[in-house]
């Protein structure tokens, strides 16, 4: 019985999230647009996340290189290390790890911010002040997430490859030019484009789920914590689901 009600609640939740997403498109496509708030959110969501994304990407580049090197040395293809790391980072590791960190930082912050605004009646106050709170709070944040995450992924990939260069040079003496030549010789358009496109979907998922959880927060301060927590959990799972779908679509187009 409990399993059945849990399943019903799961389906209802998905239905509400879908309806919330449709509402985003309805409000987002109709003027007036909240440009000032959108730019502010791009700064907060994009620029302010860069140090964290950059640091984790740099460490990830070093660690990935150091983990791969022994196996590649065993097969006698150690010289291909920059190429393999570049493909792994650009196609999969970079977008997914960046999106997961983004979900942890931005998804939770949006969930908590909107949740706290909901329970302290700030969203109602906004509506009374002649503002469409959905447009002002949700549309701007979801758009900023959708547009900023691909930028962060690209920057994160680049920083990660600088980390990889350091990782390669811990054991061998590879010149800067040789490293980057190997990276770019082996990366093709088909590696970069699918990863770039799926980053938009990751960003949209983090934004819409964070806003949905926060906007529908209830049960006071306890509800705010739950909103922040479930925003991270659900958007992290959603990132993997989108990644799974993306790889299927990529394979269809033979990338």
């Amino acid at each position: 019985m409990s399993l059945r009600s849990d399943f019903t609640a799961f389906l209802n939740g998905n239905g509400e999230l879908f309806s919330f997403s449709l509402r985003f498109f309805r409000h987002g496509l109709n003027p007036p647009f909240e440009f000032a708030e959108f730019i502010k959110q791009c700064y907060v969501i994009g620029y302010k996340s860069l140090p964290l994304i950059g640091l984790t990407a740099f460490i990830m580049g070093i660690v990935l290189t150091m983990q791969l090197r022994p196996s590649m040395a065993d097969y006698g293809v150690e010289s291909q290390l920059p190429a393999i790391v570049a493909i792994a980072v650009v196609r999969e590791v970079g977008p997914v790890i960046t999106a997961l960190i983004f979900a942890g930082k931005i998804g939770s912050s949006i969930g908590a911010e909107l949740g706290s605004m909901k329970v302290t009646e700030q969203i109602d106050a906004m509506e009374v002040s002649g503002t469409n709170p959905f447009k002002y709070l949700v549309v701007t944040r979801v758009l900023a997430c959708t547009l900023m995450l691909p930028v962060l992924v690209m920057l994160g990939d680049a920083i990660s490859l600088y980390g990889a260069y350091l990782g390669v040079n811990i054991h061998t003496n590879t010149s800067f030019n040789l490293f980057w030549t190997q990276v770019f010789d082996n990366l093709v358009f088909g590696d970069v484009l699918p990863a770039f496109i799926k980053s938009f979907f990751f960003g949209f998922a983090v934004g819409i789920i964070g806003c949905y959880k926060g906007y529908n927060s209830s049960r006071g301060t306890e509800g705010v914590g739950l909103s922040a927590n479930s925003a991270v959990v659900v958007s992290s799972v959603m990132i993997f689901i989108i990644d799974l779908l993306a790889v299927q679509v990529t394979n269809i187009f033979d990338y």
Partner: protein, 253 residues
């Protein structure tokens, strides 16, 4: 509080008229054929126990909740029938003081006060905005908090800033949702005195939701008692306090 004479003089000028208002959530009937009228310059307190539907009533009045049945006419316009733009035009003439103050945490006091101004009066210049913000804060005695964040203010100061925000658009009606909840006795008294002072200065009409008897005594021209979703009594504080009805006496004991 306005004098009886003032209320009498303007008795024909009804700024708000609520007729047969019904609102339910599922099987719970919160408001059942509730009626109320508010005259220009008058201060009406809606008194009721916690959970009696007072906040639902005030949210229906401002258009945050849609009633199931009945009409809420403000300046002759029926709120449930208005579209978004029409509702915004009516809301520009109504101030709403939220129970939790609802100050925007991420904005300074200045930005909090500017927000409704910028939204309702787009064409206003920055100099005019600055002047209006300063005047509104002056009215509540908190000019010095202009660049502070809400989190830096005490409970009473936040209530005053929230009141300044409701005043900024020079509303004709002010709705107060439990204005003294969570405040100590002295601060409550200060807030009530401020509400009376504002009403006299700007000749606004006030609809006050409260269960604080000090607020009822000091700020009301008329008291409407909300019980089981219906209007149980509608009279002055002085008359109600003399009532022998046990349900009414319960509030004044």
């Amino acid at each position: 509080m306005t004098s009886d004479k003032q209320v009498l003089n303007s008795s024909l000028d009804k700024v708000m008229l609520i007729n047969n208002l019904c609102k339910s959530f599922g099987d719970r009937h919160i408001l059942i054929n509730f009626n109320l009228e508010l005259i220009r310059g008058e201060s009406v307190v809606v008194l009721g126990k916690s959970g009696s539907g007072k906040s639902v009533l005030i949210k229906c009045v401002i258009g945050l909740l849609r009633p199931d049945k009945g009409s809420i006419k403000i300046f002759g316009k029926n709120i449930p029938d208005l579209n978004h733009d029409e509702l915004d035009q009516v809301r520009a003439k109504i101030g709403f003081l939220f129970q939790s103050n609802a100050l925007y945490d991420s904005m300074t006091v200045r930005e909090n006060l500017e927000f409704p101004l910028r939204r309702h009066w787009i064409e206003v210049s920055q100099e005019e905005v600055d002047k209006m913000v300063e005047d509104a804060l002056e009215d509540v005695g908190l000019r010095h908090t202009i660049d502070m964040m809400p989190v830096e203010l005490s409970g009473g100061m936040r209530k005053r800033v929230a009141l300044a925000r409701t005043l900024i658009l020079k509303p004709e009606i002010i709705l107060y949702d439990e204005p003294t909840t969570g405040l100590d006795t002295i601060t409550s008294k200060e807030i009530i005195e401020l509400m009376i002072e504002i009403q006299e200065k700007y000749n606004t009409s006030s609809l006050i939701i409260s269960h604080d008897m000090n607020c009822v005594r000091m700020a009301s021209d008329r008291v409407v008692m909300l019980m089981d979703g219906r209007c149980y009594a509608n009279d002055t504080y002085e008359n109600l306090i003399k009532s022998e009805d046990p349900k009414i006496k319960m509030f004044f004991e």
